[in-house]
């Protein structure tokens, strides 16, 4: 019954219990809730599955280890847990894999053949339709500057423009313009790769609109 109740509780309530009672089950519920979406965000942001796993693991371990002392996430001081977690992931990625490699944030370092090979290997190991889609999507995202990738990755995860602005530390108007440029570029890339044809028929109406928009641009 307690585990069932845990699933109904907010992240903030569960993490308060982790901090006060070192409750493993409460943590497991939070982890299960966010592991996939958070990883997907980092995969879109980094366009490299190994980096996404590395940063995701670091974030979860940082959160866990902090329960022994002062928790890094404190509901009374911070915003919602999701905003906190994605900010932590975004900052770790920028600090460790963008700034440290001394690359211009507009010329992201993941364009290296090594990163592309890593992703291809990763997808060969999990060769399903879903993973092939993931590979196409990641390849397209890799063509974007990291600022645009950051915005579009958070948007794909369901964050509002206001929350994205908070996480990325930029004005809301900048979020809008970055997203507009990113989507325009992705449309071109998806049309070139034929990825638009792989969208299931359930998306018919919006897909037709998207295809028409792309056709209009390429005509």
């Amino acid at each position: 019954m307690l585990k069932f109740l845990d699933q109904q509780r907010s992240d903030e309530a569960l993490l308060r219990r982790c901090a006060s009672r070192l409750d493993r089950d409460a943590f497991a519920v939070v982890y299960e809730r966010h592991r996939q979406n958070f990883y997907q965000f980092l995969l879109k942001l980094s366009a490299d599955p190994r980096i996404a796993e590395d940063v995701s693991q670091q974030c979860w371990l940082k959160l866990l280890e902090s329960f022994a002392g002062t928790p890094v996430y404190q509901p009374s001081k911070h915003a919602r847990f999701t905003t906190f977690l994605y900010t932590l992931g975004r900052n770790l990625y920028i600090d460790q894999f963008v700034r440290r490699h001394d690359h211009s944030r507009c010329q992201s370092f993941e364009h290296t053949p090594a990163a592309q090979n890593r992703h291809a290997e990763h997808c060969v190991q999990r060769n399903t339709h879903e993973q092939q889609l993931e590979q196409h999507t990641t390849s397209a995202l890799r063509q974007l500057p990291v600022e645009q990738r950051e915005v579009v990755s958070l948007w794909a995860c369901g964050f509002s423009a206001r929350s994205i602005a908070d996480i990325a530390g930029v004005p809301v108007n900048t979020v809008h313009s970055r997203k507009r440029y990113a989507i325009a570029r992705l449309r071109e890339l998806f049309a070139q790769s034929g990825l638009l044809d792989s969208v299931p028929p359930c998306n018919n109406a919006p897909l037709k609109a998207l295809k028409n928009a792309v056709a209009g641009q390429t005509r």
């Binding site: 109740l5 982790c18 509002s160 989507i183 998207l210």
Partner: protein
């Protein structure tokens, strides 16, 4: 400026980006959950933070000195089971109890720094059926709307939000079954 969330093309793109939805590898899960196993405890064993132990020892020492050291020989060692029983005794009805009729009131342990309490009543699926206003005393008289909300339930789960402390606190969840149903 385009609408951030409602543009139909954007909606299609949103779906497209979200189709590729694999999670992290099992090695990632093993690393995180393995660390959780090392650093945390499962619910039944979930323990207070480590600093609670020295704090409890210091508090015990102060009480022992104030009561008088000669009385120490009469002090019985409190077992964890007796501590649980004591905590349950402060909660009425005791959590997990099967009752023949609706209890007249719910009672819970007073919390330090509390300026009030808000009681949340839920059904067996944890959906909220009733929420109290802020109460000053650590008890709720189960009548009126509250009784009506609970009367139709076989199992009532209740918890208490403590109002006042800087860090939000929640007591419970506690629950009782109504046996006559």
């Amino acid at each position: 400026m385009i609408d951030f969330d409602r543009n139909s093309d954007d909606a299609a793109m949103h779906r497209l980006l979200n189709q590729a939805g694999t999670g992290p590898s099992s090695a990632h899960d093993d690393a995180v959950l393995g660390a959780a196993d090392r650093l945390l405890r499962s619910s039944p064993e979930a323990r207070p933070r480590r600093w609670h132990v020295p704090a409890a020892l210091a508090a015990s020492l102060i009480i022992a000195v104030s009561v008088g050291l000669p009385n120490l020989q009469h002090v019985e060692q409190a077992s964890p089971a007796s501590a649980v029983r004591a905590a349950q005794a402060e909660t009425a009805p005791p959590s997990g109890e099967r009752l023949a009729a609706l209890p007249e009131q719910l009672r819970w342990p007073a919390a330090a720094d509390a300026t009030g309490y808000r009681v949340v009543l839920r059904d067996a699926t944890a959906d909220v059926v009733w929420t109290s206003t802020v109460l000053v005393e650590p008890q709720l008289r189960l009548d009126g709307d509250a009784a009506a909300a609970v009367a139709g339930l076989e199992t009532c789960i209740w918890s208490v939000e403590v109002v006042g402390p800087a860090e939000p606190q929640e007591l419970g969840p506690y629950w009782f079954h109504l046996a006559h149903r």
